[in-house]
Every structure is written in C-alpha cells, then in structure tokens.
Symmetry: C2
C-alpha cells in the first residue's frame, strides 16, 4: 500500500465524460489498496472564460478579486469529480485550497505556498476517504483566497506529496509522457522512460510545456518521484527523479521556444559600466534576460545583444532609450527569432556534443545568431522560419532511430 | 449616515450590464455617506446549470458536494460585482460566506445560520470599504461549506442586518414592491407602501414569491426594517415592518398558489386514532399537510381530505396505502386544484371579510372545495382552471379602484 498523489489538468476534466474517466483512474488506484489524494484544475476553458467575463466588467480588475473569481473554477471541478467518484461507490471528500491547509503569501495571481497544514488531509485519509483537492489556490494570512498562477495545480500536487511524504506524484496530462521533441512536429520523437529533475527543468524552461517549472523545482527539493502520463491512455509515462538511466541517448530532448525576442544595442560608446547600467535598468522592471552577447563594433564602440521574451522585447527597447549612456547607439528589437535547444545530463562528459549540433544545423544551411551553453543544455538562437527544420535536423542527429 | 444592507437576486446580476447597474445603485447609496454591505446571489441560472451538470455525473450526488459546487456560483457573482464597483472608483472587498463569518448547522442544502462572527465585516466597514458578501452560503463546525436553500440570500442579508444592527435591509428584486395581487395577471393590482411582517409571511407562504419566508421571520425577530424594491427601477418600494399603515384597505393582498394537491381518503372505517395514524405517517416522511377536512361519509365511515404540495401528492397516496387502518378506503389525489387566499391584519376585526370573499366567488359561479382561516388570512381550495378568475373577482371585491 502506498500514498499516491494524482493531478489532472483542465482538459482531463473538461466535460462530464472526462470527469467520469478521471474518477475511474482514481478508483482503480484506490482499489489496489493505495491512499489517494487527487488534485484537479478548473474544467477546460473555465479559467479563461472567467477572465474574459472579468475584463468586460473591469479591464483592470483588482487582483484580489480576480483570485476570488478564478478559485471558483476548481471549486466546481473538485465537487463534480467527488460526485463521480461517489457514484462508483468509493468514499470521497472534496477540499478547497484553504480546507486542505494551503497557506500562501499575498501575491495575488502568483502566490507562493508558504506551508501546508496537513491535519485535515491526514484526517480524511485516515477515514479511508479519497481526497479531491482544488489545485492552484490557497489562502493568505488575511484569510483571503490566492491563486498560484498558471500551472499552479502541478505545484499544488507536488506540495501535497511533499507535505504527506507521498510515495509518488502522478501528473496526468494529454500527452503520454516527456518526449525527445514535440511528437506532433518531429518524426521519430521518442517517449523517455526516465529523466532527471534538472533535465526536466531545462526542458520546461525551454518551452516543452509538460510540467510547470516551480513544481519540478519543488519535487527536486523534496525528492518527490514524479510521473508524467496520459489521462486518456494510462500506460506508464515518464518518471522524473534524481538519477535517470540514460537509455543510450546522449541527450534527452530537443526543444523549440518561439517566445523569444532579440534586442540589439549597436554602436555603444565603450565606457565602463555600460553593460551594468543596461541590465540593472531591465532587472528593475522585472525583465528577465536570457542570453547575452557583447562584441566590439567599429570605431571603439561595442554592440550588446540579448534575448528576452517576445512580450518584453519592445518594453526593453523603450526602457533603454531612457538611458543617457546609450545616447547615439542604435537600439532595435527582432521578434522573428526562435531558440532551439538540446538538453541532457550526459553532454557534459561528451565534448563533441556542441560540434555535433552545430554541424547538423550547418548541413541544412541554418544560420546561428547566438549560442548559449550550460552543463546540461546547449541553445542557439536562429531565424523563427527555420526553427522547425532545425529541431528535426538536430533531433535526427542525436536520437537514434529504432 | 446609516448602515444599509442591500440584497440583489440572481436576475439582478445575470450579465455584465446588470452587474454594472447594481454597482451603480450600490455606489449611489455609498456616495450619500452610508456604510453599505451588499449581498448577492449567483448570476441568473448559474445555480440551476450547476445542478444539471451535477445530475449528469451523479443523479444522487452527496449533498455536501452539491453545496461545495453551488457555493461557487456566488463566489463568481461577488467578485464580478466587486470589480464593477472598483471600476466606478469606490473602495470595495468581496467576502465569501465563511469569510463574512456565517456559521451554520450541518444540514447541507438547507442549513440554518447559527451565528455570524461580524469581526471581518466590521473591520472592512471601518476601512470604509463597500463589502460584497456571498449570500446563500456559510460553513459548519467542520469547516465545510453549506448552503441555506432556495431564497437563502434573503436570509443572509437579514442576518447581516441583524448582526450589524443595520438601519435598513433593502431587498432588490425584479418587481417594484409587494402588490395586492400579481400585477402581471390581475388588473388594478396595487403596490403597497407598507406591510407588516405577519402579513408578509402569509403572502410568502401563499405563493407571492417576493421574499423568502425565513428572512421575514428573522427580520421580525430582530425588528429589521425591510424594503422590497426593484433593481431596474429603484424608486421607493414596499416597507415591511412591525406596524403598517392600512391605506384604507381591509386586506393586503390576494394570492394564488398552484402548488397544491388534494388527497382524499374516502370511506374510512370510523375507528379511533385513524386521523392520528394518517398524519403521523406523513410527518415521519417530512410531508407538510396544509388544510385538513374531515367529514362523515355513508354507512358509519368518514372521509378525510387534506392538501399538500403537488410533488408530495402521489407520495402521500403511496404512503397511506401501506396503512392497515385504511384498508377498504379509497385513496385518490387531485392535482388540478389551486389555493386562493386573502391576507390582511385588518380582517380579524371585520367579521364580514369571509362572507365578502365567498360572495365574490359565488357571483362568478366558482365552487369552493375547502376553506381554511387564520387571524390574518382566509384560503379557499378551488379548481385550478378557475384560479385566475377567482383572484380577479376577490381582488376587485376588496381593493378599491382609484
């Protein structure tokens, strides 16, 4: 007998039929003698629909009230799922975030979990109830409802797994696991049996939107074994843990992140502190900079190029135009770029990995604008038009075809 | 400056436009220097829609989970209304039932309010916030969400008015006040300026669905001055209080209740205790009996006739068939009846009131099947087909035409 936390996203509970399907998966797990805590998101497009309704009434709605509104979404899905489980003949109770003991800070819209008081959860499990918990939500010290931001239900599930010392946290999605590349776009993309937390983190950061990053970080911190699997076809998925078998692959996956903009500052006077002033200005406004490139230009000037999210590209340009030290420099933003990356804990011991990636791109005539490397990742910025071709090229260079 | 509680029903907040309309009424009241607490129901058909969704998943859904589900309805309406008020530039906060301190018993689906801890409400009013409270909901001692049953938001509003010693509790509906008869059906129906609690209670019981009965009882108990008025045309409505001016009318109103069934037990052997056994059986199954008539039949048998709600008619027949003492009796149910009533505190001192009512019916050739009287009410059971004609006849006999 084990304690298993299962998390189902909005598409898994989008309608009555899917809610019943989820109920069956949960009851099958319970029937095997396990204690089960289920975390669910709001049904289908509920959250987006509620946000649209709010915008009609008040385009700048107070964030506290938005959280109060959005939390109703999971309230609906947990009670419906509990009803479905009850109709299969199993003991069940649904709990809202605050009933399940989720205490958060007060940053409405993207609150952080401070702690979970597990008393109620433990009491319900002791009664042999299946416990259905509303993901994405908690309360702050004022007893006001907060939400954890997009993907927050993954974090809720991992946090419960940590608080209850669960044996496993299963994240059910609409894909069958973590793949070496997007299987809808890349022929030969393979499902991974295992992957490390760090690799998963890099994949998530790089745009493989299977698991929310905060949830993986938390799983790593508390050594929670995660499994990513499909709610529509519940065969074994991908296990995320500290050490993963390499399965004869040098890399875990190839990703394509199109949410990238390149900002170029050309012809900066080469004075000390310019770079510092540029990035201090951006960080004051909470703009995250990813890859940075600095090079010498003509006539003792230099060029600074960096990548940010697409949304932040034009914002960054406007901010930088305010800086005196950049007077005379040309500041431009290019949003037609993409970041293609390979991820794998194995690559650090294989010096030829980068070369192999660049060669694959060169063979297809794809021009690299920028390069960034970490211990388990190599990213290149290229033209957005060429991104899908680049992913295929790199994937077939690294992932063996069976 | 006064403290005013305003309650808006589901149709008053059915869509974005109406939510904004309610926000305007609330802000106008606040602008005049009043403290305002607003109680709202779920939007439009939300509650019915949620119940339908639940039925698809589990026709016998646990009541605790139904309450958990339904409470999401007011959660949506309070946050949207708060956003609308904020967009008009006024300070506002929305509170769920539990946040507003509503403690109830544990009868899911029709919980009773035990008390209101007013700390949070008072603190928000002290900050000069407009406070928007979710009607219809509270929590029990286990921290589980309960609902107060249909019309519960009226009760929530009056309970807050009592807890905060409010100066007035305004119930906004889609009619302009309490009328002497249904103005859509009876020509010459008049809006009352004032009415007593007791008269209002009788009118509500008799099918004039303006105010929930429990809310009027509570208003009477705590002497809360109620006002019934329209959210679409906010002119002065009807005041409900302890003593009301009579406005030269003998009666306050004529009502037509079609939710009536007549159950007849014909040819019962005249043994002692038969009536007791009949009504004990019904009360065991929570079936409320309204009017009872017992008469002698042929051959030392007797007939017992009583009225119940339409839904309970066939149920009562089945239950009574199980009783040995009724062996040989014929038990039938007639659902094509209606109850027409007149209500008015003045009638007790006017012995001719009943005669005048019966005469009005006799003049139109309407046959009376049963009669029931109390100090401030006279009811007759007649054929459902004749009910509307009867209401008009009685109304024009009692209410002076201007």
């Amino acid at each position: 007998m084990a304690l298993i936390v299962q998390k189902f996203g909005g598409s898994s509970v989008a309608n009555a039929e899917r809610v019943k399907n989820v109920a069956k998966i949960v009851c099958d797990t319970y029937k095997e003698g396990n204690d089960v805590v289920v975390v669910v998101s709001a049904q289908g497009d509920t959250t987006d629909d509620l946000i649209s309704e709010a915008k009609v009434i008040n385009p700048k709605a107070p964030k506290r009230e938005l959280d109060q509104l959005l939390a109703a979404g999971e309230q609906i899905s947990i009670s419906l799922l509990a009803m479905a489980i009850e109709s299969l003949g199993y003991p069940v109770i649904s709990l809202l975030g605050w009933q399940a003991g989720f205490n958060t800070n007060s940053v409405y819209g993207s609150a952080r979990i401070k702690n979970i008081r597990p008393n109620r959860l433990q009491a319900e499990l002791a009664k042999r109830n299946i416990v259905v918990v509303a993901g994405f939500q908690g309360i702050n010290r004022y007893d006001d409802i907060t939400t954890l931001g997009r993907g927050g239900s993954d974090t809720s599930a991992v946090a419960i797994a940590a608080a209850l010392h669960a044996d496993k946290c299963q994240i059910f999605t609409d894909v069958e696991g973590v793949y070496t590349a997007d299987p809808r776009k890349v022929e030969g993309a393979k499902k991974l049996k295992e992957i490390t937390y760090d690799e998963m983190l890099e994949l998530a950061t790089l745009g493989a939107q299977v698991l929310n990053n905060r949830s993986v970080e938390m799983a790593k911190k508390y050594s929670i074994k995660l499994e990513v699997l499909s709610s529509l076809n519940p065969i074994p998925g991908t296990i995320v843990k500290e050490v993963a078998k390499m399965e004869k692959m040098l890399i875990r996956g190839v990703t394509n992140d199109t949410d990238v903009a390149l900002v170029s500052i050309l012809g900066v006077q080469d004075n000390p502190g310019v770079a510092f002033k540029v990035f201090a200005k951006l960080s004051q406004k909470q703009i995250n900079v990813d890859i940075i490139l600095q090079s010498f230009g003509r006539n003792s000037t230099k060029d600074i190029v960096f990548s940010v999210s697409k949304e932040n590209g034009p914002v960054a340009v406007e901010l930088l135009k305010e800086l005196d030290v950049l007077d005379g420099a040309e500041i431009v933003c290019d949003t037609s770029v993409a970041k293609v990356s390979i991820v794998g804990a194995g690559m650090e011991s294989h010096p030829g990995t980068a070369t192999k990636m660049f060669e694959a791109l060169y063979d297809r005539g794809i021009n690299i604008k920028m390069i960034s490397t970490s211990e388990i990742k190599i990213s290149v910025i290229i033209d957005a038009d060429e991104a899908e071709r680049a992913v295929s090229a790199v994937h077939s260079a690294f992932i063996p075809n069976d």
